[in-house]
C-alpha cells in the first residue's frame, strides 16, 4: 500500500517536503521509518533510531506503533518549538 510522508523543519531541509513510498500490509510508523532509512545516506542520518523525532499519522501526533493504512499521511519532525 502507498503512503505519503511529510517532513518539517530540519528534517525537511535534509529530505525535502514530502515523498511517497510503497509499504507492506501491516506496516507501522516504526517500520516505515526503518524503510525510509534505507533510501539514502541523508535519510539514514536524520531518521536514525537514536534521533529524537516526533511522528504524526493523518495529522494527529502518534506513537511509532501506530498502524498504517492505504493512503495514510505520515509526518516526521523534530520536537516542536512554537508559542
Amino acid at each position: 500500500m502507498k503512503v505519503t510522508v511529510k517532513y518539517f523543519a530540519s528534517i525537511r531541509e535534509a529530505l525535502g517536503p514530502h515523498e511517497s513510498i510503497e509499504v507492506p500490509e501491516g506496516s507501522t510508523v516504526a517500520s516505515l521509518r526503518a524503510l525510509l532509512q534505507a533510501r539514502s545516506g541523508a535519510h539514514a542520518e536524520v531518521l536514525a533510531p537514536g534521533r529524537a523525532l516526533r511522528a504524526a499519522l493523518d495529522q494527529a501526533l502518534c506513537d511509532e506503533s501506530a498502524a498504517l493504512r492505504e493512503g495514510a499521511e505520515v509526518a516526521f519532525f523534530p520536537p516542536v518549538t512554537g508559542g
Binding site: 529524537a52 520536537p79 516542536v80 518549538t81 512554537g82 508559542g83
Partner: protein, 162 residues
C-alpha cells in the same frame, strides 16, 4: 459561529480588536485573560536578528482546535481564541495570542496558561532564528514538557519515552 477559533497567519494582529471580538455580545463575561508571546532579541546566549516560523498546515489548526475543546472540558470558560503567526518575524514582533473569557478570573487565567502550555509542546510549529553565527533551529525545552505535566499531561516533546 462566523469567527474561527484558531487563525494561523503571516499578518500581525490587533490585541484590542481581538479582545473586543472575544467578548462581543456575551454579557456573561466577567473576565478576559490574554497571553501574547513576542520575539526576543536574545536566545541561548546569542543575539537574534530575525526569526522564521514554520508550521504543518492542517494539523496545526486541528491540534489547536482540539486543545480549545479540552480547555472547555476542563475549565468553566465562555470562549477561547488562538492566533499564531508564521513566516518571517523580527524582534519585538507579536508571535502568538491566546485569549480566554469566563465569568470569573480564575478560570480564564488557568485556561489561558493551560492552552499556552499545551500549544508549546503539542502544536506543530518550528522556529528558526538568525544569529551572528548564522541560522539555527531553536531547541525545544525540557521545562516546556514539565509545564504541561502540571496539568496531568505527558508532553513527550523533548523527553520521549521510547
Amino acid at each position: 459561529m462566523a469567527e474561527p477559533r484558531v487563525r494561523i497567519q503571516t499578518e500581525d494582529f490587533d490585541l484590542s480588536a481581538e479582545v473586543a471580538a472575544l467578548r462581543a455580545g456575551d454579557a456573561g463575561v466577567g473576565a478576559v485573560a490574554v497571553f501574547v508571546g513576542t520575539v526576543r532579541d536574545r536566545n541561548d546566549g546569542q543575539g537574534v536578528s530575525r526569526m522564521e516560523l514554520e508550521h504543518y498546515p492542517g494539523m496545526t489548526e486541528r491540534s489547536i482546535e482540539a486543545m480549545i475543546d479540552e480547555a472547555h472540558r476542563r475549565f468553566d470558560i465562555r470562549a477561547a481564541r488562538v492566533i499564531h503567526r508564521v513566516g518571517p518575524l523580527l524582534p519585538q514582533d507579536q508571535i502568538v495570542y491566546v485569549g480566554v473569557s469566563s465569568a470569573h478570573r480564575g478560570e480564564a487565567f488557568q485556561a489561558c496558561e493551560f492552552l499556552m502550555d499545551y500549544l508549546k509542546t503539542q502544536a506543530p510549529f518550528w522556529k528558526k532564528e538568525t544569529t551572528p553565527e548564522g541560522a539555527r533551529w531553536v531547541d525545544a525545552r525540557v521545562s516546556d514538557d514539565e509545564a504541561l505535566k502540571r496539568w496531568g499531561i505527558e508532553a513527550r516533546n523533548v523527553v520521549q519515552t521510547r
